[in-house]
Subunit: 400 residues, 2 copies
């Protein structure tokens, strides 16, 4: 190897372009990094269960590997999985054809693909916050400008000022990004609000990109057509400007598999296929095979999971509410309690101290936007004993 | 489900933005689609072996699934895989640290990430063609302008006019895209040319994005440091504007796993981590575990594979050269014979006819750029009996 004696000119530093350097780094990971090498830390910071993927799905993956499912697949996914998903989506949200469903290499990838489909440099994008960072940052990679509309926090928890959102959805807006049920707040857009937003977006040709990965994790009293959270798929036509993103991560505990899907107008199938080719080509073949088994045989598991999550939610909200200074509401959806802690002005600093001084891993509210400051996110996708030990650590810390 | 009676306004069709509609669709897939439902077609069109991934790698994937490797991993990859890759790259190309290596969800994803790192709207990108379409199309998704410099075809096969390339690399060029060994031509950039290109790019601060996924599939007589094809990693510093992309697909027959890696300046690690978070989050956990076994235990397999591919290359070039009108050169690298067929003015039409009338699946040269017109690509990653049957079908077709 010949290394030139003269280093490269300082004129040309090896660094990413400015738009990428300015992307927000994950403050959750910043907190988690503070816990590296600390096996005693109880982590509730990430959005995943402490349980491994169910055995029947892992075994399906192994069977597919053994059978040799190690070749490229169609960009849009294997026929068996697209078919299973079309049936699944149809049962939850009304008739949906195979041509309206595409398999993606994670829900994240689906969000990136949706953004690439509709958003370019200079486009105006509107997002409702607090919100997990990816939805807000992805369009910036494409040069789009993201305008945020904040939920309001009050006695009823987080609520949306519909008029403020509609005012932000100016006619020159390219797309609205909605994550409902919402990470981190659990806020779920009610049906009547969905109807108003859809009508407004139709009028102005504004795309709706709906991140609905938590749709099955819904505990509210106004479910959609098939018992899941209200979805834009319940009320939208399949040939209009609505793209819904979903994932295997939450309903089947498959976070580490990186498998998701999109529902979108059939007219976009060809263009989406090109984008998938140019992003990841396809999801791994045997991962898709396991996905077929998850969708076809996983319904009982998912229903049981939702029951357990509901119990965990109620348990955690009850325990937290007994602590001084904690203001916690039971969320309608997802798997987080996003609670306010009196006197907290720097949630990032607080969460780092909780890791170091109390062995408790939580996510800082500021990771989800400025309006999340003063809050902390706690993922309750685990057993009650683990939750109790976490609450005990928080109580002891607050008592100091 | 309430479907509104009035369809959405024709003013706002549900279609992708213009830049995406204008992306080139794969002409290889167009040919392959002509063979759907035709089990008698012998396919040589895709860039993958007809052999399944070796059992020891598939078994590693299954073991990881059984052990419960189903959770999110670090954005940049699991420590074991980054460490294995750092050692592997160091052995082939000189000292490379873990911080200079990142795991990606396929080589494709690595190329998209590299483009996102350095290229935005309006940036000038230069690519050497003929070239598999992804490299040329990816920057367009980000709004960059891609300028191509064609190799020349003559008595010695495909060669590069270095002066023409350097003239195209104007000081305002943001990045050069080089795929060497090249898909489809097998052209491999000689060391002296790499040195000249690197010196020029250093002078003007032009990024080199090197797609080196075929580096192990090299049959030429001027190998790089570790026996692979000459690589920019052999001659570049690790802190300058060079990003190398690689993949598990070719050297370990893992196309359907979607696993790759990047080597890049350590100073970009943090920004790359953000982009991976916003593209796919991470590669599947158990896929990465299998990757560790491939890198650590796959050397004998890869060396044997390269020997078999070299034999297949020589066999196919010999057989094709015996056909009338065929002009075929033995490529220095990759796994394709990209041969000229006299009188062919529309290779796409020819390849469709070969599927329908001869049961032979080849890739049209025009899929790789206008300068590929008149050529056909044949992937020889299979046994000689299969190659012989393919050549027989081509001979019979030409004889009609």
């Amino acid at each position: 190897m010949s290394q030139p004696a003269v280093p490269p000119s300082a004129e040309f530093p090896a660094q990413a372009r400015a738009a990428v350097r300015q992307l927000r780094a994950s403050r959750i990971r910043e907190v988690a990094n503070a816990g590296i090498g600390r096996p005693d830390v109880l982590p509730f910071w990430f959005g995943e269960s402490d349980q491994v993927t169910p055995a029947f799905i892992r075994e399906a993956g192994s069977r597919a590997l053994e059978a040799g499912a190690t070749f490229y697949t169609h960009n849009l996914g294997i026929t068996a999985l697209r078919g299973a998903l079309a049936e699944y989506v149809s049962a939850l949200h009304g008739p949906t054809s195979v041509a309206q469903v595409a398999v993606t290499s994670s829900g994240d990838s689906g969000l990136m693909l949706a953004a690439q489909l509709v958003a370019g440099a200079g486009d105006r994008i509107v997002a409702v916050t607090p919100l997990w960072p990816n939805l807000v940052e992805i369009p910036k990679i494409l040069g789009a400008a993201v305008h945020t509309v904040s939920l309001d926090y009050g006695a009823d928890g987080w609520t949306l000022d519909l008029e403020r959102l509609l005012a932000a959805l100016t006619p020159d807006t390219r797309a609205l990004l909605i994550n409902s049920p919402n990470n981190p707040t659990g806020w779920t857009m009610p049906r009547a609000v969905q109807q108003a937003v859809l009508a407004h977006c139709r009028r102005h040709g504004i795309w709706i990109i709906a991140d609905e990965v938590y749709e099955r994790l819904y505990y509210g009293d106004e479910p959609g057509v098939g018992g899941a959270a209200p979805s834009f798929l319940d009320i939208a036509r399949r040939d209009e400007r609505v793209i819904c993103i979903n994932s295997f991560s939450k309903a089947w505990l498959m976070t580490g598999w990186r498998l998701g899907w999109m529902v979108l107008p059939e007219a976009m199938e060809g263009d989406l296929g090109k984008l998938i080719e140019y992003n990841t080509s396809c999801a791994p073949a045997f991962v898709q095979e396991a996905g077929v088994v998850a969708v076809r045989e996983g319904e009982a598991f998912t229903r049981d999971l939702v029951g357990r999550l509901r119990a965990a939610r109620d348990h955690l909200v009850g325990a937290l509410s007994a602590l001084p200074g904690v203001d916690a509401h039971a969320p309608d959806g997802a798997m987080y309690v996003f609670f306010r802690l009196a006197g907290t002005r720097d949630s990032l600093d607080l969460c780092k101290r909780l890791v170091r001084e109390a062995g408790l891993g939580l996510a800082p509210g500021s990771a989800f936007g400025d309006e999340g400051e003063g809050f902390v996110r706690w993922c309750y996708a685990c057993g009650t004993e683990r939750l109790d030990e976490g609450v005990r650590r928080l109580r002891d810390y607050l008592a100091r």
